[in-house]
Amino acid sequence: MGRVLLPFDYYEPQSISDAIQLSRDSFGTYLAGGCTLVPALRRRERRDSCLISINKIEGLNEFYAHPKKGLTVGARVHAATLLPDIWAGKRFAALHEAIEQLYPPHIGNMGSIVGNLCSAIPYYDLPTAAMALNAEIHTTGLNGKRIIPLESFYLDTSKNALHDHELATHAFCPPPQPDSGSCFKKIYRSRRTTYDSHKINAAASIAFDQDRQKIQYARIVLGSWYFRPHRYQKAEDLLKNQVPSFDLFTEAASIVLEDLKPITDMEWVEKTRFAQAKVLLRDTIAQAASRAKSRQDPFEDASQIIQNTK
């Protein structure tokens, strides 16, 4: 890796409109934490002649997590900001766990969540977790504001659906259903040789019906397999209106595997990856279901009792 970055122009606009204007005039790239951009510049994978830092823009450091209002994360918010938040941990557990497991842990103090989502790097963890939570990216560009669901945000490796000069201002996860839980897990193996398997990550979000007997809603996402995380609706449909059981989760994981295509021609690598993915998916769904089933919210319970007595 090259030691020195090539020179570039650098701007620090104070408002979103200034940033967009600067981007249009100078064809600059937006910079938040720089954890993906700076190493890419060093490796000469990118040759940006102008960087526009968004770190002085007011309003992009907004962070708000609430079980009834959802999770809002501004483009400047560092990943580690979420960790001490009790609601982020309880109701948006998948994203919280993905941040907890970021490697190296220092990245959480430097990189922004929105930057991580916008990087469109296939093996990143936050996109998988955020997709399970039905996240969307809010943007502002030359033609006004847009909301892009994360599912349609990734076009290819390092390519997202943002238009030229468009700035992702914040990410939003809608409030989870009342009796729901989510989970993120990954199997991490550093790649030492060409034939070594990469990591695999998975996230799931499960909601139960009012009696907490049957699964009402499921969202299953597997990442680090193709260029973007994928949702598996066949497996989700299988889980709906079913009583949760270990066998059901195993069957759902098997259905996901049927849709997966090998990504190398090395047979043993694929065998290992498929075996890992099956266990990972099964455990992720089981953990999310367990959280949904055992969820207790004294405030919600109290409000329900008051409503019933009325």
Partner: protein
């Protein structure tokens, strides 16, 4: 486009001329002559360049200098003081022979320092998780964890003593 930037490092203010493409590790080493911070992988993977920015461990090799201006930066040089000599953590590293080649030591110390400020009584497992982003190519992890645990108990003894006094 050269600019004069102010850096707050180890409680002192430094004015220095930087360019936008300079990273914090280069500024600390080349401009401010604080060579305790090491450059190793230059990609944010090994943790040898760890410094504390606003009290949080940060890889200075991928942090642009422009982003670190006007923030509180602490490097390994700031751990020891002229009055008390080496810090408790540094002394524990020396006593446990927790450095082999020593290249990762400054990063390890800064990460451990941040951990002990946030959690003064970490378990061995918590220490391992905290330093998981710092790679020791000599693989001397056991002694490093031992040293941090010894520092924990020493600091606890000092605190108990101070409370009694």
């Amino acid at each position: 486009m050269k600019t004069i930037a102010t850096f707050h490092v180890n409680g002192q203010e430094y004015d220095t001329v930087i360019e936008p493409h300079m990273v914090l590790a280069d500024i600390l080493r080349d401009n401010l002559n604080l060579t305790g911070t090491k450059r190793a992988c230059s990609g944010g993977n090994c943790g040898a360049c760890t410094v504390l920015v606003n009290g949080r461990p940060t890889c200075s090799c991928i942090t642009l200098g422009m982003l670190a201006r006007d923030k509180d930066i602490e490097t390994v040089e700031g751990l020891a003081s002229t009055k008390n000599g080496l810090s408790t953590l540094q002394t524990a590293f020396v006593q446990n022979n927790a450095a082999q080649c020593g290249f990762c030591t400054s990063g390890m110390l800064m990460t451990a320092e941040a951990l002990l400020r946030e959690n003064p009584q970490p378990t061995r497992q918590e220490v391992k998780i905290a330093i998981s982003g710092n790679i020791c190519r000599c693989t001397g992890y056991i002694k490093i964890v031992d040293a941090i645990m010894e520092a924990v108990s020493t600091l606890q003894t000092i605190n108990n003593h101070n409370e009694k006094a």
